[in-house]
């Protein structure tokens, strides 16, 4: 049982005034906070520095706890994996059979491709990576999907650079501090990635759902061409994300497009690399076979 509050300050003028002043401060501050929130929604860049600075404080502890425990892979994912195990098994068998057939067809193409490339003297070196790091932690209590990357301005990471894992696209840099930076994951509700279907180049947009999945919407809504198993890669449209990075695999058709799952799960990915943003001058450097400015790829700390 809670003791009743003695909010009435009695006859003392001083006590009455101090209580009144406390309420005035609280209401004024709350209104100011609301205005600040609206401001930081309108101009997220202005406040990013403040937030990154606070993340610099927790980053050493996150590094330490990560090295002790290792990365806790998605809890929600593990639960749903149990629920969907049966149907998933059936689906995977089907996919495996289809993939085997494709693999045979692809291997001959790969060989041909290699020979053609040697003819053209194209180098396979990845010229787009700036630095490599790993994801430390993320905002797991709010609906915003921001992860913390273990490298920052010390290795040339800056806002607006795309981030990818070995399996596919992870997100883009939101802000960078001296030694850590924030990554807005592609699954965030406010993140939109221009994609195309790997098979035939059908353009579409991938919207984050905020719960780990993506909504895929085509540009023409007349028909719904997606089938489960379709692979989506970045198209490079609109800059920022370089083309041909794997993004997601379609798992279900929907009324207005499809539901897709990112190929790179940020919860399980270990190392990620920060890429150069796909701006016109960078794109030209990429296409040039013998660009002399080959960027060094520093090792992750």
């Amino acid at each position: 049982m809670v003791r009743p509050a003695h909010r009435r300050p009695g006859q003392s003028r001083k006590a009455q005034y101090s209580l009144f002043v406390a309420y005035v401060i609280a209401v004024t501050g709350a209104v100011a906070g609301l205005l600040l929130a609206v401001l930081s929604v309108v101009d997220p860049v202005g406040f990013a520095a403040l937030r990154v600075a606070s993340h610099e404080v927790t980053a050493p502890i996150a590094r330490a706890s990560r090295s002790v425990i290792g990365s806790i892979s998605g809890i929600d994912d593990a639960v749903s994996a149990y629920v969907g195990a049966g149907s998933q098994n059936r689906r995977l068998r089907k996919e495996l059979a289809a993939t085997r057939r494709q693999l045979v067809a692809t291997s001959s193409l790969q060989e041909e491709n290699r020979q053609l490339k040697t003819l053209l003297k194209l180098q396979e070196a990845d010229k787009t990576a700036i630095a490599n790091g790993y994801l430390l932690t993320s905002t797991s209590t709010s609906s915003k999907r921001i992860a913390l990357l273990s490298i920052g301005r010390n290795l040339g990471v800056a806002a607006g650079q795309p981030v990818r894992g070995a399996d596919g696209l992870i997100g883009r840099i939101l802000g960078s501090g001296p030694s850590v930076s924030q990554v807005l994951l592609i699954t965030d509700i406010d993140n939109i990635v221009p994609v195309r279907r790997a098979r035939d180049g059908l353009p579409a947009l991938a919207y984050g759902r905020g719960n780990g999945d993506l909504d895929i919407r085509t540009l023409n809504i007349a028909n719904n061409p997606f089938k489960p198993g379709d692979i989506l890669v970045t198209s490079g449209t609109g800059g920022l994300y370089p083309p041909n990075i794997p993004v997601a695999i379609v798992i279900r058709r929907q009324d207005d497009g499809a539901l897709a799952r990112p190929l790179a799960d940020p919860a399980k990915v270990d190392a990620v690399s920060v890429l150069r943003p796909y701006t016109p001058d960078n794109a030209e450097a990429l296409l040039k076979p013998d660009a002399d400015a080959v960027p060094e790829v520093p090792k992750a700390p």
Partner: protein
């Protein structure tokens, strides 16, 4: 008489009585960013908010009503929501608790749970809507609904934990 040492049965130091509640909320707010957990949805309950509400439900008069301003600002730095969201919502929540504690004179456990549950649901929903102003309302609320339910179910535990911290705070020497 030895003036330097603490006397038997003396009340806890003022410093400890003031610092413990604030420290628990600050640490709970920053804790999710210290765990090596890269979540794909809001999986953890808002620890800072839960401790903040529990302290106020347990000790209504301990803090002035404006305490949500500094504590909320700290939470905003770590939660990922736009800065100012928790400043506004936490202060509004403490005003609501102050009001309700005058209305409901003898509050019991279930009163506390109900008030806490209501405030957690409102604060988390509005925070999510402020974070994603352009997204569909239904989708955003659906995103935080599981988190709200988990938080409400965990509230009694947090009330007990806060009680333990309160015992430590007031422990006589």
């Amino acid at each position: 008489m030895n003036q330097k040492g603490p006397r038997l049965g003396e009340p806890a130091s003022l410093w400890r009585m003031r610092a413990v509640p604030v420290a628990t909320v600050l640490i709970a707010s920053a804790l999710p960013l210290m765990l090596p957990l890269v979540a794909s949805s809001p999986v953890l309950p808002p620890l800072g908010l839960l401790f903040f509400l529990c302290w106020q439900l347990l000790r209504t008069e301990m803090w002035p009503v404006w305490i949500g301003l500094p504590l909320g600002l700290w939470d905003d730095l770590f939660s990922g929501a736009p800065i100012g969201t928790a400043v506004f919502l936490w202060t509004a929540a403490s005003i609501a608790i102050a009001y309700l504690s005058q209305r409901i004179y003898w509050r019991g456990f279930f009163h506390d749970w109900a008030i806490g549950a209501l405030l957690v649901a409102i604060v988390q929903s509005i925070a999510a809507l402020l974070t994603h102003p352009h997204a569909e309302t239904g989708r955003v609320l659906g995103l935080v609904a599981p988190q709200i339910i988990v938080s409400i179910l965990l509230l009694p535990l947090f009330l007990r934990l806060t009680g333990k911290f309160d015992n430590f705070r007031l422990k006589r020497r």
